[in-house]
């Protein structure tokens, strides 16, 4: 029986039948740069700093996120503001090292640092991967707009 099977190439022909059938099935390809898979709701893309409704940033420079980060991504500079509160001079996120674990977001007591759903951030120059305060606030605006859209 098995000899007959071999002699008539039964198994091989079965395989060929499957490939032929598959050829006429619709493809499952997502044509990436033209079509995109929408990221999931809790997708962890690049960071953003959230803003208050009045346009000021929520971060109060407590350093918890920087402490928590396993790869030493976050750094910030601050001064004392007019009202005696800490004020950010700069807030840098070095995406070249970040592993998108989200621990910084977990750590933040003020819900100031968040992660957007942006995953396309390749750059030709490495300095562009170091995000500064202004970039992060811009991303924050994007994030909040996106959140509102999703609701």
């Amino acid at each position: 029986m098995s000899l007959l099977k071999k002699a008539t190439f039964t198994d091989l022909l079965k395989g060929m039948k499957i490939t032929l059938k598959t050829m006429f099935k619709p493809t499952v390809t997502v044509h990436y740069p033209f079509e995109k898979v929408p990221p999931r709701k809790r997708f962890r893309g690049i960071h953003a700093l959230k803003l208050n409704p009045d346009g000021s940033y929520r971060c109060e420079a407590c350093y918890l996120c920087a402490e928590m980060c396993p790869s030493n991504v976050i750094d910030m500079e601050m001064t004392e503001g007019k009202d005696g509160k800490k004020e950010l001079v700069d807030f840098t996120v070095d995406l070249t090292r970040c592993l998108f674990c989200g621990l910084c977001v977990e750590a933040c007591p003020r819900d100031a640092i968040v992660m957007t759903d942006i995953y396309e951030f390749s750059q030709y120059s490495i300095d562009k991967l170091i995000l500064h305060k202004e970039d992060l606030l811009e991303l924050g605006r994007y994030y909040q707009k996106r959140q509102r859209e999703r609701k």
């Binding site: 091989l12 060929m16 499957i18 490939t19 598959t22 493809t27 499952v28 390809t29």
Partner: protein
Amino acid sequence: MIEHFLSLLFIVGLMLVAVPPITYLERKVLGHMQQRSGPMVVGPHGVLQPIADAIKLIFKEDVIPRGADKLLFVFAPSFSVFAALLAASVVPIGFINAVPMKSGLLFVMAMSAISIYAFFLAGYSSNDKYSFLAGMRAAAQVLGYELPMGFALMAVVILFGSFDFNEIVKWQQTHGWGIFYQPIAFVIFLIMMVAEVCRPPFDLPEGESELVGGFHTEYSGMRFAAFFFGEYINIIVLSLVVSLLFFGGWSGPLADKHPVLGVLYHLLKAGFFIFLTFWLRATFPRYRFDQMLNIMWKIFLPLSILNIFIAAVEALFVG
């Protein structure tokens, strides 16, 4: 004379022009068989992809590795195209017959057999262990497929009583297609043909997953492309030959009155076998080396010898 020259021009032109679309179709077919869509970006549905590839290959840096045998290294790819085109020149397509030859079949077999020299010249000359291994594999593969293929053809030739393609087709026009007389020879020839052009599942000399790129590991640019030209032309030629030997070549309804129709029939039949090589490639994994030799020597070689007797008996009754 002029007629032969034009035919030759047509056949060589056809071979060279057909290769890029065939590479495109191959990628499309392979893609769809794996539920992908293949090339899509360059031109509508990616039809201009071969042109983009050609431009890329032309502008690639041409590297000759240190320690390579320069003469052979440069010679090997052109040898591949040259042998394939020589084989193509004697195959008649319908009424287009560039070099009418009494022993056309023998010549085609000889030419496509020496085209594998390109592989081991490349493997030998590139001074690279992967290429070298691939060259050795190619050499061993020749020993594997050449004998069963030769014997399968011997059976066919005994039946048809001629090496001349025109005679062979004439025989089939009166007696019916060769496949009905010689199914075993057809199967063996088909499998050996796949082995001959080093296509999966017998792509051992190329074995990307084992040998980097096989014999063409060190090649780049147009030399690299030349190998593939040779390979695809060989596929076309052998597909034409299969349809000549077993499927009546250009015979078909109304083909006597309209020779152009005959050309079309022949090309369509060959097209099916070209498609078959893609199909096999999408379906089967590569054979291991010992498996390949086992199949060739322990199964197909005795079978093809046995088949000669069958052919002889048939020739007695039919011929």
